[in-house]
């Protein structure tokens, strides 16, 4: 490989970075409040609404956002995925400015799992005093089922997040790529031998507008009338 010092390229836009770390904070909040229960449940619900808005935003951003944020740019064909896995296995260099072929699919799976988690929560009930805002629209039977899946899917999410973190540690210790720092700064060390790929960055105003729209949509969805106590 090239011995010249690496240069830096900007790979992640601000919306992707903010999305990522906010999701970390909110997922942690959701898990903790869900385990604590009691009066913390109101925060469990609010945190879930915020996650829903974030994920909705991220899906749209995956269609209209910057190059490295787009699904079309990071969901590679099975052939590419296998080729990349082989590169990893054989310790061969393989450089992708954004998500690599394995990481890209992982991002999609994580997003869908998180979406299912919040989606099922909207319809869940805990047989104590917490009901998702859309519980009223479905039967108790179906809500109980979705509540069961809400509890099962969080375990799947734990597994996925663990895999995600292990992969990042592997890239760091095994391949000398500090992906965590890149997710904070947006900037990655780029070996000067590797080809530079042109990246386009979308407007931050567009991101802000889309996020506000997502937040309003979630707010309309979850602000249901409360029943009067007796």
């Amino acid at each position: 490989m090239d011995e010249r010092p690496p240069q830096s390229v900007r790979v992640w836009d601000l919306p992707v970075r903010v999305f990522h770390w906010l999701l970390v904070v909110l997922m942690t909040t959701s898990v903790v409040t869900g385990l604590v229960g009691g009066n913390a449940m109101v925060w469990h619900m609010r945190s879930g609404y915020a996650i829903l808005a974030l994920v909705l935003f991220r899906i749209v951003w995956g269609l209209v956002g910057s190059t490295t944020a787009r699904f079309a740019s990071f969901l590679y064909s099975p052939g590419r995925v296998f080729a990349f896995a082989k590169d990893l296995f054989l310790h061969r260099p393989a450089h992708y400015p954004g998500h690599n072929p394995l990481g890209g699919w992982m991002v999609l799976v994580l997003l869908l799992a998180v979406l299912f988690q919040v989606g099922s929560g909207l319809f869940a009930n805990d047989d104590i005093s917490t009901e998702g805002p859309l519980y009223r629209y479905i039967s108790k039977n179906l809500s109980d089922k979705l509540t069961g899946w809400h509890k099962l899917n969080i375990k799947i999410l734990f597994g996925l997040v663990a895999l995600h973190v292990v992969a990042v540690i592997y890239h760091w210790l095994g391949r000398g790529e500090n992906l965590v720092q890149a997710m904070f700064t947006g900037i990655r060390a780029w070996p000067s031998g590797a080809p530079v790929i042109a990246l386009r960055f979308s407007s931050l105003w567009l991101a802000l507008g889309l996020f506000v729209a997502a937040a309003i949509a979630v707010w309309l969805l979850v602000s249901q009338p409360v029943s009067q106590p007796i």
Partner: protein, 160 residues
């Protein structure tokens, strides 16, 4: 004195009979009884918990009424109705066609009783706070009641 002895005997008999009555309650009736008590708990706890979390405006009268009703309903002790044979719904029974009771209720009775005692204590505190009229104490106690419900459900109510 004679009357006193008679009264005492009657009381003892009544106490004995009520124990027998519960021991002999049909499994499907027992399932219906405990589920009903639980449901009525939830109906009373709902507004208390919603006010404690400021999901609905605090209304002292409604809070106190519900908290005290919860205390009365809990005093029926739902754990008495987990009688032998009620771990599964009775085949063909029209009432209580399901039960979410976890088998550990019968295999770990001390742990189940501890969860019940914990709830009794927390509901006692909630009722005391309601009687004292201290809003902050009421709200905090409601949170602890909810945690005790959850703790028992996590261990003993089957995940659906």
């Amino acid at each position: 004195m004679k009357n006193f002895v008679k009264f005492g005997t009657a009381l003892a008999l009544a106490a004995g009979m009520s124990t027998i009555a519960y021991a002999q309650i049909k499994p499907e009736d027992a399932i219906r009884a405990r589920q009903s008590i639980m449901r009525v708990n939830a109906i009373n706890f709902g507004p208390v918990s919603a006010m404690a979390q400021e999901k609905i405006p605090f209304n002292k009268d409604i809070f106190v009424a519900n908290a005290l009703r919860l205390e009365s309903v809990w005093a029926m002790n739902p754990t008495r109705f987990f009688v032998p044979g009620s771990d599964k719904p009775v085949a063909g029974a029209r009432i209580a066609a399901f039960t979410d009771a976890n088998g550990e209720i019968w295999s770990q009775p001390e742990k189940f009783k501890a969860a019940y005692d914990k709830e009794t204590q927390e509901i006692g505190k909630l009722a005391a706070a309601a009687r004292s009229g201290d809003e902050k104490a009421m709200k905090a106690a409601a949170g602890d009641v909810g945690k005790a419900c959850k703790a028992c459900h996590d261990d003993f109510q089957v995940k659906k």
